[in-house]
Amino acid sequence: MKRIKPIITGVAEIEGLPIIVVYLVLMGIFLLTAPRVFTGYRIYMSFLQTVPPPLILALGLTLVIAAGEIDLSFSAIIAFSGFVFSFIFRTLGTPWLALILALGAGALVGFINGLLVAKVGVPSIMATLAAQFFWNGLTILLCGGLSWNIKEIKSHFIHTLFVGRIGGIVPAQSLWAVAVAVFLWFILNRHKFGEHILFIGDNVDVARVMGVNVTATKIKLFTFMGLISAFAGVLLTLEMINFWTTQGAGFLLPSLASVFIGGTSIAGGSGSIVGSFFGAYIVGSLEAGVVATGIGGYWTRLTTGFVMAASVVLNIILGEAKEKGLGEKLKKSVFLKGVFEGKP
């Protein structure tokens, strides 16, 4: 047992490693239970095609949850930004302007969320739930409840850039998702903004008295979440070459689940980008995997629930192992003897 402990501690130190292991084990199980599907490359390409939008949402959410807040409006932003994108493209035929305005629309929704939360003081779960209904409702009103096909966009470079197939096989959006993940990892772990997020999520009073502008940081955070949700919305619209009013509605819970599976705690003050990345791939792979295994589609939700519970428990157990490791070191410490050296 004594030999195992340092190994567990060491494993827990590497960000997201436990969840990477869970992911690999899951893939291993699928390889055994559905070898025909999982030894071919097609299933993986299909994951790389479908997972990026909810993955990007999960990455943004990781920052929001690390700040001790929550955002439930992103599924509506997917629809709203998809609407803005398709509308501008259909009426003006300018894909880049459509992109900019769609991103702007998402940022605006996020900014309003941020104002409600940080300035007015509405708890984020209420503000963003209201926003979800409002913006989704507005989208339905504006488009008259219709879905729009925008297949003309396929001939534009924007389609190739964001959702083209690299080498004819690999979906470009999967690389965009990696880029977003790397960027956000650095923002959360190496940037001033990320550190402010962590301290706000940890203890907002400490953040305030230590000179963090809590209001501005929260507004920026929600605005950014809106922007990144719009980006996911545009990727989805481009991939489907279609806009429909309920697009994104199905991402709400899976994206949240991805963050929690990835080891980010609802308590705030910490967040794992790597964890959320693999969490999203776990959630995204489960349905296809379970169906391919042959036990039937009815099992997918149950399995997701099980994997989520197991991952959260695993993260807690590993967290405790980590604390015990440090606790032992603490017992040996004699440093209080040296504190405030000088005259008594």
Partner: protein, 256 residues
């Protein structure tokens, strides 16, 4: 680092009022802290000590009143925590000094990180300096506590050590200690007091907030007694004995 200046008073407040809604927390408070002076700000719970401190350290502005730092009037509209840092004011809060789940190196620099132009933190540099503060200034030696340790692994005394080390590193003119001895063991209280003495020897001014007169009596030059939002007495140390001071405070407590 704050710029150095000669001054008569490290901080002076004049006729400060603070209302939270209709509740008056401070009703016209005036007091000052001279250069190299240690002032014990004493009062019962709810006297307005913390409110006064938060105004001085830029956490929130007063409803009315004026603030002078190093004899210069401060524009309260633009005054905030970062400004206070620039004016050489450092605060050690009883329980709000450290982010529990954050590494100590982050705790040293939160609010004034060393960054490049894009705002990315120079992690190696921050860790180096944090390491130095821990070893040289507060003497965390061979302890199993490193700059990577999370703050929640530390005892109450160690936390105050970190917060005080931070204040010393940033070379404050005025160190504000908000109930620094609450929830500390006797030994740890002695360490905090020895720090205050050392800070005074280095020519720093201190405001030491407490409701325990026994903790502040040995180190303070002067006592300002706050009761229900008003200064009720300012007493020089030579004028009273600890016993008299204590009786005086008790009288106030009983009147309530």
């Amino acid at each position: 680092m704050p710029e150095k200046r000669q001054f008569e008073n490290a901080v002076r407040v004049e006729d400060i009022e603070k209302y939270f809604g209709h509740v008056a927390a401070l009703k016209g408070v005036s007091f000052e802290v001279g250069a190299k002076e240690v002032v014990g700000l004493v009062g019962d719970n709810g006297a307005g000590k913390s409110t006064l401190i938060k105004i001085i350290t830029g956490v929130f502005p007063p409803t009315k009143g004026e603030l002078y730092i190093r004899d210069k009037k401060v524009s309260l509209k633009d005054y905030n925590v970062r400004q206070a840092y620039k004016f050489g004011i450092e605060t050690v809060y009883q329980d709000k000094s450290l982010g529990e789940k954050q590494a100590l190196w982050r705790n040293f620099f939160i609010g004034r990180q060393i960054t490049n132009r894009l705002g990315f933190i120079k992690v190696r540099k921050e860790k180096e300096i944090a390491q130095k503060i821990m070893l040289d200034m507060i003497g965390f030696r061979g302890a199993g506590i490193t700059v990577e340790s999370k703050a929640n692994k530390l005892s109450g005394g160690e936390r105050q050590g970190i917060a005080i080390g931070r204040a010393m590193y940033f070379d404050a003119d005025l160190i504000v200690l908000d109930e620094p001895t609450v929830a500390l063991s006797l030994k740890e209280v002695q360490k905090v007091l020895s720090f205050v003495k050392r800070a005074k020897e280095q020519g720093k001014s201190c405001i030491f907030i407490t409701h325990n007169i026994y903790h502040v009596y040995p180190v303070a030059d002067r006592f300002v007694i706050l009761d229900r939002g008003e200064v009720v007495a300012t007493i020089k140390k030579g004028e009273v004995t600890l016993k008299e001071l204590n009786e005086f405070l008790l009288k106030y407590a009983q009147e309530k």
